[in-house]
């Protein structure tokens, strides 16, 4: 499976390595491009204590699979992996992992960026921040 939704802390490097070991691509991939999004302890000028990630179970997977299909149609990639956290999350914990394997670097770089931008634009996730003041607010700007 190219898409994983995790409701607890995940180790992005372990996820990549586990996935990579299953790939029948030993010696075939020359390029791996990886993006890891990590929770910061600040946003929009405020200190953030914690966050809750809500998502639309089912639609999330459907939209991420569509994004992956679109990337595969556009670039010659060998495989890819998307992992996204949901539920309660703390600063410094990984939120999202996107990893692309290809023979050459241009495809890996471009497809990885594309997957990440499309995920941010179209995958149905919503962030609820708990500020240091204990105030809760829905994130509205998705930079």
């Amino acid at each position: 499976m190219n898409v994983r939704i995790c409701d607890s802390l995940f180790d992005p490097f372990e996820q990549i390595q586990l996935f990579q070991h299953q790939l029948a691509l030993q010696g075939k991939f020359g390029a791996t491009s990886i993006f890891i999004g990590t929770m910061r302890d600040f946003n929009e000028g405020d200190d953030v204590q914690a966050m809750t990630l809500e998502h639309y179970e089912g639609m999330t997977q459907k939209q991420l699979c569509k994004i992956i299909e679109a990337a595969k149609a556009q670039w010659q990639i060998l495989d890819c992996l998307i992992v996204h956290r949901v539920g309660g999350i703390l600063p410094n914990e990984p939120i999202v992992l996107v990893c692309v394997w290809s023979a050459h670097r241009a495809e890996a770089f471009e497809a990885c960026r594309y997957l990440m931008e499309e995920l941010k634009a179209n995958a149905p996730f919503w962030k609820l921040e708990k500020l240091a003041t204990s105030e809760k607010r829905w994130v509205s700007k998705n930079h």
Binding site: I95, P124, K127, L128, S140, K141, N142
Partner: protein
């Protein structure tokens, strides 16, 4: 029967995350919102999905569809 889903701030505004609605003639997504929430104008920038695909508010809704409303997404 159609099945309604609300997410994030929209879910909080309405106070519930799911609802069901009987429709008797073809309706659009916007009609469905107005029938289900006659007292709540659809917030600006609301996104809609039918059966887990994005659709415009003018999209037709048929019996057994799952219709979801939610604010702009902020994942990643």
């Amino acid at each position: 029967m159609i099945y309604l889903r609300y997410f994030a701030s929209l879910r909080e505004t309405l106070g519930h995350s799911t609802a069901e609605l009987q429709i008797f003639e073809p309706q659009t997504v916007l009609d469905v919102w107005q029938l289900a929430n006659p007292d709540v104008p659809l917030p600006e920038n609301t996104l809609a999905a039918v059966n887990m695909d994005y659709v415009p508010l003018s999209h037709p809704v048929k019996n057994c569809d799952e219709v979801a409303f939610f604010p702009p997404v902020t994942g990643g």
